[in-house]
């Protein structure tokens, strides 16, 4: 009886939600037209990248800041035990990881470059590179990271994308308003920011995995 009431209530609530979404009022401003009108000034030809990096670049700046903050929180709160020594995993797994990694890096670079004119971009490229690092870790080729013993180069890569983005924003703020790129340099600036973001995002996303990892990779 109780179960029947719960199922009925869930169905009614689901129906109400579907109804609310189907009857959504059309937005008073059609943003698609506004985006299409300004594509020529954006420096890229893919509307999603134009919105993420140019028209709403502020959101992307805050997004990378939030991810970095999450990682710093994890480093501060995470376990302080040194990661156990890496034991070699299955030979077949290692061979496969070694073969797979170079094409994955190329795919990451392609996604970054393709973001200017077709689906792709820094986030996807960073995630693909992070996946390669996770794969290397799970096959025992890349040891887990220790928050206290992190080399300077890795720290620089972790914060580099955000710092680069922030520096460009501040420089643009001096020239006019925040993140308003001059139309002629917009393409170059977006590519520069996205390259920095790709490396940082790859390190941050992989870091979420590698700082937490307590096991020694794929070793049994």
């Amino acid at each position: 009886m109780k179960r029947a009431i719960v199922i009925a209530a869930a169905l009614v609530f689901g129906g109400l939600l579907i109804n609310a979404i189907v009857d959504l009022p059309s937005s008073p401003v059609d943003l698609r037209i506004a985006v299409a009108d300004n594509m020529a000034n954006s420096g890229v030809s893919h509307p999603v990248t134009a919105v993420l990096l140019n028209f709403r670049g502020y959101d992307t700046l805050l997004e990378i800041a939030v991810l970095l903050l999450a990682l710093i929180g994890l480093m501060a709160a995470g376990p302080m035990l040194p990661p156990p020594p890496n034991q070699p995993a299955d030979a077949l797994l290692q061979k496969l990881a070694r073969i797979a990694t170079p094409p994955v890096i190329v795919v990451g670079g392609y996604l970054l470059w393709a973001g200017a004119f077709r689906p792709g971009g820094a986030f996807q490229a960073g995630a693909v590179l992070a996946a390669a690092m996770v794969l290397l870790h799970l096959s025992g080729l890349l040891s887990a990271w220790n928050a206290q013993l992190l080399p300077l180069a890795r720290r620089v890569i972790l914060v580099g994308g955000f710092v680069l983005f922030l520096c460009i924003s501040v420089a643009l703020l001096a020239a006019g308003s925040l993140l308003q790129y001059p139309p002629h340099q917009a393409g170059l600036l977006i590519l520069l920011i996205e390259s920095g973001l790709t490396l940082s995002l790859a390190a941050i996303l992989a870091g979420l995995f590698l700082f937490l990892s307590r096991d020694n990779g794929g070793a049994p």
Binding site: V48, L111, P119, G120, G121, F123, Q124, A127, V128, A130, A131, V134, L138, L205, L208, F209, L212, S213, R214, D215
Partner: protein
């Protein structure tokens, strides 16, 4: 037209089924695998909705990284359990 409609119906049914299996699976490893399956089906759904950008992000982060993180957590849990049993 009818072929795409049939595919969409199949896809949405599989989505709901995999979501249901994810939360009702008795064993954790089954739940994790079903979660990855759900992420991949979701990627297909985003493609059908003509949102390839979101599909890429879903495949890389939703199914790939989160799935790997969950599998790693599962491995750590299992390792802890066997260590406790030995004591």
């Amino acid at each position: 037209m009818s072929a795409t409609l049939a595919f969409d119906l199949l896809l949405s049914t599989a989505l709901v089924w995999s979501a249901w299996r994810t939360i009702t699976a008795n064993r954790l490893d089954q739940a994790v695998v079903m979660f990855i399956v759900f992420g991949l089906l979701m990627t297909l759904a985003w493609c059908r909705l003509r949102a390839p950008d979101i599909a890429l992000a879903e495949a890389a982060i939703g199914a790939g990284l989160t799935g790997a993180l969950l599998l790693d957590a599962l491995g750590a849990l299992r390792k802890g359990k066997t260590a406790r049993r030995r004591q």
